[in-house]
Amino acid sequence: MSDLKKIKDEFLSKLGGKLDISEINQIKSDLFGKSGLISTQFKKIGTIAEDDRKKFASDLNIIKDELQDLISSKVNEFESAEINKKLEKEKIDITLPERSFVQGKIHPISQTIDEISSIFSEIGFSVEEGPDIENEYNNFTALNTPENHPARDMHDTFYLDEKKQKLLRTHTSPVQIRTMLKDKPPFKIIAPGRTYRSDSDQTHSPMFHQVEGLHIDKNINMGHLKGCLNYFIKEFFEVDKIKMRFRPSHFPFTEPSAEVDIRYKMKDGKIIIGDGDQWLEILGCGMVHPNVLKNVKVDPAKFQGYAFGIGIDRLAMLKYGINDLRAFFDCDYRWLNHFGFDPLDVPTNYRGLSR
């Protein structure tokens, strides 16, 4: 008994002193080496009278643990002191610039298309697409705009052949035709894409973007159209309230037709959507003309619904304060970097359209 206590006291006092790593290691081997003091005591366990053996073993284990813990904490203490000493010599100027990185950007039109798709996704629209080159039939005739219709003048069309049979689509509406010819009603689609008109000035670009919407079912009326667009505009501009006006207009492929205006005001050179005393024309829409439905073999007595067409570039300009339409396509590094979006900013319903 007194042996154990003696060893303990002696070494606790030894370990309490200032030691270097070799001294610690020496102590470790003195105690726990093959013939170390503690190791020797363990060998003795068998020789002790049975009555005392249990207590001896228990005491010995306690002392062993105590000394071992102390030694390893001493070792740790020493090692971390060593590391700290080394680190002191490794100090660098952390204000030096990081390794260079480049940030890519998503074009504001692409971002806007994703935003639009996300909003319409929520109310059950799916995305359809069509080719940029269209035939005259899909772009005009099927859309109730036969040859010699004055409405064709409203579209300055790029043609690819002398017979004017092949052209660059002047709107995304031919996707309506393609979709309805391909499938059976009901239809609930949006079709974003490139569109072309031979018009070029400050507010017109020979290429621009549109999104077409089409909802055909058994009893879709103008109220559904109004509700859908009201929902879309509110969501898109991320405002709670929007003042919107439907006014009669004319498109050959819808009847009745409407143009939609929203209220806005200018504040500090920025456009504020949803409020104010000015009207801003934002899109055209209407109930799909029965002639169009007949052209795609949908029975207008059974099915009806609405269509709309929105200028994507214009929406992007309004939402993001872009003044010049032409800049979209000018590919100026500074502009792309300023108006572009980080690729990780994917517009979704749950995290919102924009940060």
Partner: protein, 801 residues
């Protein structure tokens, strides 16, 4: 269409204000584009005469005019108009006047050293018309009015309406008034035009030839003899000026007035210049005539012409000819009021490229029953103002007018509009719009008014009813948030994924036009067919792009010129292979210029190189879910790439479809486009050639297997012929035993030194791991030997000892 409230009041009885009018016009679909006073102080714009012109001493194109503005009060005005000449009557704006178009206030100013007191105005500056070539030239009749204000003192604003092409009736003031009255804005006045009574015979014979495709259905006319054409009375001049028209002479002004008032175009001929009566017929190929625009037109077969025995007098409903035009001294006038088929008008005008006010109206559809009213109204005015004797009215027709009838089932209204109005209200609206309404079974039988060519079926009636009762009555039905079909298909998802994946590698997304400069397109056309646009906006945008590189390189160059040196841009969009719908492919195209690292304290300067773009391509594809282990690459690339530093990529060694090209852009192209950069590399990923994965990501995630047994790495160095690809070595090693060979890395490629010429040394690190046990030395030795043997056999390599 330009109107004033005052003129509307000729047809409309109302106590409402102009503010209400503007709102109501837009509400019923007659969109107000602008409403403004012709000039804030329109009394300031005076009729004046240029008495003398001198050349400006310091400017070739400018003139210094002495202008008589009032009883020989002469002002010096500097003017740049080419048409300014001595003796010309025009409109003078004094200092202090505000120019209606620019809203600029005039001041006395020195122009190139000569002081100018005011300005001579063009029609466009006064917002009268779009005519901006030269200053207004007033007819001689105005000489007595020098010093007087050109504009009447009317307070009525000029209201510019945008009339949609389906509403020709609203190209006349009365049509607009009718729509307004139907919507509850005042009451339409009953203006029965008094029929003229004459006993005089109409001595000019008119005949419409009955032939195939005859564009003239009816031709009404009246002969007025011994007229004295003169200046119009003030009320008429003021009326025309108030809507931006320039008064010319009484007869011309009267025909314009009737046209604007009731959308009834008329044409006046000098009857003495017509030889033996009028024949309305199809033109013959090669016939020629000189039109009132002083251009000579050569006609094709089958155009509707008004002719006499000598030949063509004019193109019916489009433009008259000089041979039979009226002049100030014309004594005998034949006044025409006809109906021309819209399709025929449009065909002819399009072929000859003529655009006139008459054509604009006839191609939209003129009221066929307005022939007589128009003649009565005009002839009465001519007689009042110019005197003379009137003949009986003669109307030739080749077919009678048939009233269109529509059966209307009232329930259709609510089915389409989603709201209800009473039957009584429906009847009132339709009757106010001029429909004949009769009860028919459960609904109505409607007579469509002759001035509404746009109405032919039930849904057109619905539109009229919704329009007049008000679009604000349409309810908002909240959309249901339910999705039956996924928003994007697999292809669209891939598109969005690639787009954001490439952007995340430091590329700025560009959107450029689908057309391009032929010269640039040619650099990247390779063997593709050129696709021309027949009517391009400019010759620099004359072809559809065969590759996106054409645009990207052009814009890259512009950005380099702006001083940016290291730049990566990309575009995802269509390229075109033919001019038929569908002959296009979606391509992701990227371009990187300059250095990867420049002027860095920590990294060495390094140009972007082909292995940077190769990484971008492969990483993008791997991120999109394609297995890079299977990729197969060779060096056959189009001629716009550096022949030695470019590659093409297939998804696997079957090489069925090219998925991407990448490499250095050919230095010759850089030279030709004068691009100054250290390096230019690019890639094209062909989306349509990417097989859409059959398995979803979920399917792939199900099975998760891994090995916890020890990995071993072994290094090999092989000597191979120079033309052996690294890819062949890697593929032959990884194909030995896929369950054991986990990774193959090339960590050194070396030529020269003690390596024989035409050979190279490739050092490879192979990771070996079993999923069943820890491999022992013997196992490893066996694999090592297998690797060496396989590589040596397959590639002719020799292991370096």
């Amino acid at each position: 269409m330009k109107i004033t409230f005052d003129w509307l009041k000729d047809h409309l009885k109302t106590n409402l204000k102009e503010k209400n009018l503007l709102e109501q016009l837009t509400n019923i679909g007659l969109e107000v584009e602008s409403a403004e006073s012709l000039s804030a102080d329109n009394g300031l714009f005076k009729i004046a005469e240029i008495v003398k012109i001198k050349k400006h001493p310091n400017a070739d194109r400018l003139k210094v005019c002495d202008v008589n503005i009032k009883e020989n009060e002469i002002k010096k005005v500097v003017c740049g108009a080419e048409n300014a000449k001595e003796g010309m009557l025009t409109i003078y704006a004094p200092p202090g006047a505000i120019i209606p178009k620019s809203k600029m206030k005039l001041v006395i100013a020195k122009i190139r050293g000569v002081t100018s007191y005011g300005m001579l105005c063009s029609e466009s500056e006064l917002n009268l018309t779009d005519e901006s070539d030269g200053i207004i030239e007033l007819p001689n009749g105005y000489k007595k009015d020098i010093g007087k204000s050109y504009f009447s003192k009317s307070k009525s604003n000029l209201i510019d309406l945008s009339i949609t092409p389906n509403r020709p009736d609203c190209l006349g003031i009365r049509g607009i008034a009718r729509d307004l009255a139907a919507s509850g804005f005042g009451k339409l006045m009953d203006l029965k035009v008094k029929k003229i009574h004459s006993k005089n015979k109409h001595t000019l014979k008119v005949k419409i030839n009955k032939e195939k495709g005859q564009g003239c259905i009816a031709f009404g006319s009246c002969l007025i003899t011994n007229v004295k054409n003169s200046e119009s009375p003030n009320w008429l001049k003021d009326k025309l000026i108030s809507v931006g028209q320039k008064p010319i002479s009484a007869i011309v002004d009267i025909t314009n007035y009737v046209m604007l008032d009731m959308n009834r175009p008329l044409h006046a001929y000098d009857a003495d210049k017509i030889n033996h009566g009028i024949i309305v017929r199809n033109s013959k190929l090669g016939e020629k005539f000189t039109a009132l625009d002083n251009k000579s037109y050569k006609l094709e077969n089958g155009m509707c012409v008004i002719s006499d025995s000598k030949g063509v007098l004019g193109l019916g409903g489009i433009i008259g000819g000089t041979r039979s035009s009226t002049e100030l001294h014309t004594k005998n006038v034949l006044l025409e009021s006809a109906y021309f088929e819209p399709g025929s008008i449009r065909n002819t005008a399009k072929k000859l490229n003529i655009d006139t006010d008459a054509k604009f109206r006839f191609e939209r559809g003129i009221d066929p029953l307005s022939i007589e009213d128009g003649l009565n109204k005009a002839v009465k005015l001519i007689k009042e103002i110019c005197g003379g004797e009137i003949s009986k009215i003669d109307i030739q027709k080749i077919e009678p007018y048939k009233t269109k009838k529509i059966i209307f089932e009232p329930n259709v209204f609510e089915k389409i509009s989603g709201f209800k109005i009473s039957l009584k209200e429906m009847v009132k609206i339709l009757e106010d719009l001029g429909f004949g309404v009769k009860k028919y079974k459960k609904g109505f039988k409607l007579d469509v008014p002759s001035w509404r060519p746009d109405i032919s079926q039930e849904v057109d009636i619905v539109e009229e009813l919704v329009r007049i009762s008000g679009y604000e009555k349409i309810k908002f039905i909240e959309p249901i948030k339910k999705r039956k079909k996924s928003t994007l298909n697999k292809y669209q998802k891939l598109f969005h994924f690639l787009q954001r994946s490439v952007a995340s590698k430091g590329y700025l997304e560009a959107i450029t036009w689908s057309f391009t400069d032929q010269r640039y397109n040619d650099y990247f056309r390779d063997t593709k067919k050129e696709i021309r646009i027949i009517n391009p906006i400019s010759s620099e945008l004359g072809v559809l792009r065969n590759s996106i590189f054409s645009n990207l390189i052009m814009y890259m160059n512009k950005n380099l010129d702006r001083g940016f040196k290291d730049l990566s841009i990309f575009e995802i969009g269509p390229i075109f292979n033919g001019s038929n719908p569908g002959e296009q492919n979606t391509v992701v195209c990227g371009l990187s210029a300059g250095k990867k690292s420049r002027l860095s304290w920590i990294e060495k300067d390094r140009n972007v190189d082909v292995f940077d773009v190769k990484r971008d391509v492969i990483q993008t594809l791997v991120e999109a879910g394609y297995d890079s282990q299977k990729f197969f690459i060779d060096s056959e690339t189009p001629n716009y790439f550096h022949p030695g530093k470019s590659g093409r990529l297939f998804l696997n060694n079957k090489k069925d479809q090219i998925v991407a090209y990448f490499g250095e852009i050919h230095p010759n192209i850089l030279k030709q486009v004068d691009m100054k950069t250290e390096s230019l590399v690019g890639f094209e990923i062909f989306m349509d050639n990417l097989k859409l994965p059959v398995k979803t990501l979920n399917d792939l995630k199900v099975k998760f297997s891994f090995s916890d047994y020890q990995k071993s790495e072994r290094d090999f160095a092989f000597i191979v012929n120079k033309d052996v690809n690294a890819q062949d070595l890697i593929k032959s090693i990884s194909s030995i035993d896929k369950s054991l060979v986990k990774d193959v890395k090339i960590f050194d490629v070396y030529q020269g030194g003690n390596i024989p010429e035409n050979q190279k040394s490739i050092a490879i690190n192979v990771t070996i791991q079993s999923s069943e046990k820890t491999l022992n030395e013997a196992d490893l030795e066996q694999i090592n030997n297998l690797i060496i043997k396989t590589v040596e056999n397959k590639t002719g390599a020799k292991i370096r000892s």
